[in-house]
Symmetry: D2
Subunit: 334 residues, 4 copies
């Protein structure tokens, strides 16, 4: 069965490229943001969260990105370093760009929204020439994230990272992470998502994200098999399509498909579920676990994060995930 | 002596036009922002602060401005209304603009800085056609603020407000409030500051702000008298030039000049000093007090605000200012 | 009566500030441009045409403007110099801007249109700091043109020119010349036209142009007297309002109004009529002729230009205008 | 050997996507443009020229592009139709964009330059959704041109065209045609040129253009074989690298390389040489001629065009090329 082979003899297990930003999470929750008076600051951004998740699970990790030359940027770099993430390729902006912000509003565990500040942000200013070939050459797994494709020059930096990963044999995972507000049009989005996806080994996204990528194709029934098959004709080996509450399905190139068990959680908010799932799943694949077991591990990590106030700071260690799975299985054996 | 005559029979005492934004003040102070974890949210923006100050002092007030169609914008409008400010001319943006933010960093009482978010902000999108002639027609005093001149269409909205104020006989005060980050060049700044200042009765600014306005003029000695005289040839009746620690001087059209007494304060931070001073001073003028007494009142209001954590929310009532002056005079009689 | 007093003891009679561009006039006329194969190149732009007109009439002239660093820009400077115009304040752009183009289409003498190229043009990049105070100080009459107000930094350069003209006592004429395509909105247009017009002694424009300036005012009947009166409250001494085929009316501050005699012409195209009229009229005022005689002189100059293929290159000498008037009067004495 | 197989049973032989613009060629040549007074108008743009060339040679052709809604745009569409080119996918812009212009300056046969107008041009506004799948599905050969990759949304329209061509089996030729002025940076250029080139069967460019594409690669000796080999790992079958006066070399996937014979010409100007060469060469390939014979045909077409005043309008018929080759061979048999 279809586990992915990762290259040997690399210094790093995992490198992510893309968004580094700040989450400002409402301290007074279960109410509209108008009634919130204080906020707590965390490092955020989907690839940052996943990278922190991988580091917590014990992986050797690094990040490729750009931060503002301000207090927020310095806070981010310091936090990554405190988590043992190699920041040698985190560049500091010199144009006066700001750090992206996400104010979170938690009206109820199931009614969460985000107020984004994404104008003139440093993370989208990473240049192709600032991506260091040696960090990509030295990793087993490279993760790219869709938001970094939204604008030049960050978009070219992602394509350059893909080029280096191909050149040096890294496995490539693509977390689609489509956020409409930084894109000019859906046509533009589809164009670059498809060009990037052609080069990736693992694709993870929602059904809606795959629909967006298929806007010039013929899949009126939103058929997962048709979606996955297309990518197996390029580089893909695993395509995960998330169907919200109905769960995720992993399609493998050998024709098999896999569903994950889900866990009960005491949900505080939904933010961070996808990022912790991705970290847990990719961690499992790197342990050469079967796809289904890797998915279960991702689900457990997600259950832990949605029970906490933050995303990045709540990413669990392997010990925490193992404990969680053990206790859950003890509670509801099936 | 030179008190200003305000028109009778107007519904409102005071209307301000311009910036409405959010201050996010560090809760953990006396340290760099990198070490700050939580922030408290307040309404901010120089003209907003002055307007709130005037309302607290008992004036009938209104505001002309634009807010984002989001939780921050709704918070601002609600706060203004809670302070009794007429928000009938506070327009809601429909373009997806955001609310300007100011993260404050208080390293020490004398070492304060601000991290600004001013890209794509709603307040700079106010249009000339959105300014209601009747609100300007119905006020005794109109306050404009320099930051609103930084970009179109807000710039034209300010000039339109000036046109209405002239047409209906309102006294006009101009708080220079020059913030370089929203301007393209100093030449552009000087051009529009001068065009606006020609039409104003009261000018309030720092020596550096007046220097910026004189970049195409011949005042190498930075002579206050020369600066003030120029504006008396246009519409000005009072020109206040602030010299930082050395205090402010008010020049009047009759040739007199005035200095304010200052007060001792237990300074937490310097933010808000200028705005509370302006509110207190303009309040005094509207009571037909002499210039020097009005300046003293402004200084007392400033002393109260710099002793508090916020700007807007700390604006004192007349009772608080009177008490403060009384106690200060009792403590150090001279 | 009501002639304008011009200052004595100046080096130059006339200086214009603003647009310098290229006209590409269809050689094959009386057909749509689709059927035109060859074009002839001329210097163009309303203030350039007026300045060339004044130079041809014998005035000492100069120009304040900016040209592209290319073959078109060099052609313009050379042509101005060949006409005896002082180009000491014609600056060369260093940003890669282009020269504005106007392709003219002459379907019939009364059906003419222009295809404009106004993106990234050098003339709108003139900066306030590039305007030389001494050239404005040394002229009797300064002409500004509305198109130069359309964008920064050219807009600020015009206001700086006005400031210098006021400082040194030059008479100021404002040729409204409103071209919608370079402006963002009519509100923005009205704002800066009004701010500029407040400072000018002579205003020349169409009824529609004055309507645009009155968009926030109350003149539903488009009453010329109301329009003119407003400006007499500021600096204006003469306001010319053009009513197309019904002719122009000049309103003077003393309450008088004046109409010009018009001349029969063998019309080739309508382009250039306004510019040649302005040159002839301003020339007349500078001779201390009565307003009506100055208007007649302008009409004669216009009649000559509309009978020719070009605008700038067809501007007549005083001898040509005098001959034309003499012959016209001989032909139809009244 | 190594001829390319084109699909059968298609309606069209050749479709080009990209730039449609206007050349304004100086009528008075062998002098600087400052001394030029009249210009003649032609359809221009590299893919337009190649498409016209193919049509003249007898191919069934079509064009995918966008024109301004003005006289220039209508002139272009009419000219294409007069040449028998299918304009069913030439879209008219509705945003007020202009037609790109190229003023040519011919100082001497070997000293030619171009003054470009490329701001806000219609051709770069073609959208992915405006590319008709059926026109790409119905052609044997699709030509893309590098300038159309310079900006969004035209860039995405090219990638969409490539996607359709892959889907329906069209052979794809890429004329690199790199023009720095429409690009933001060389890094951005390299990124999209490479992504496009990966999908193409035939690449045609200068050594300098291939160097630009290799800016993140290791080819310090500018080795043609190394350059060509890279592309054979993707889709390429033929890579033509032009070395200016030293001639062009065609590298084929089978390892062979080919040089073209060149022809003596009475050179008026160098413009159009590359486009006519491309048309002749691609025509040859479509006749299933050997590579060397196809190159010779291209050289002959180029020799004819450089002897004429225009580019597009001078594109020869097959009869003219055959005659030219015959006469040349007769004159200098070798």
């Amino acid at each position: 069965m279809s586990s992915i082979r990762f290259p040997d003899q690399k210094t790093l297990d995992f490198v992510a490229v893309g968004r580094l930003c700040i989450d400002l999470n409402a301290n007074e929750i279960n109410r509209p943001m108008e009634d919130t008076v204080t906020f707590t600051k965390y490092v955020g951004g989907s690839p940052a969260n996943i990278c922190i998740g991988m580091a917590r699970l014990g992986m050797q990790t690094g990040f490729i990105g750009k931060v503002a030359d301000d207090q927020m940027g310095r806070f981010i770099v310091r936090y990554l370093e405190q988590n043992g993430i190699d920041t040698g390729n985190v560049v500091t902006d010199d144009t006066g760009a700001v750090t992206g912000l996400a104010f979170t509003e938690i009206k109820s565990p199931s009614d969460c929204s985000i107020l984004m500040y994404r104008d003139n942000v440093a993370d989208l200013l990473l240049k192709a020439s600032e991506v260091k070939e040696e960090i990509v050459a030295g990793t087993k797994l490279l993760l790219i994230s869709g938001t970094a494709l939204a604008q030049s020059p960050s978009r070219e930096a992602v394509f350059q990272s893909l080029e280096y990963a191909k050149r040096h044999g890294a496995v490539i995972a693509f977390d689609l992470d489509y956020r409409p507000y930084t894109w000019t049009s859906e046509e533009e989005t589809a164009a670059y998502y498809n060009l990037a996806a052609e080069k990736c080994d693992i694709l993870i996204g929602t059904r809606e994200e795959f629909d967006m990528m298929e806007r010039f194709e013929d899949n009126p029934g939103h058929d997962d098999n048709k979606t996955a098959s297309k990518w197996f004709d390029y580089s893909a080996q695993i395509v995960i399509i998330k169907h919200g509450k109905e769960g995720s399905i992993a399609y493998a190139k050998d024709g098999s498909s896999h569903r994950a068990k889900s866990f009960k959680a005491n949900v505080v908010k939904t933010f961070g579920a996808g990022d912790s799932y991705a970290a847990g799943f990719l961690y499992g694949l790197m342990q050469q676990w079967p796809i289904a077991k890797s998915m279960e591990y991702g689900s457990a990590a997600a259950a832990i994060v949605v029970s906490s106030h933050s995303c990045s700071d709540a990413m669990p260690t392997a010990e925490q995930v193992n404990d969680f799975i053990e206790k859950s299985n003890a509670a509801s054996p099936n």
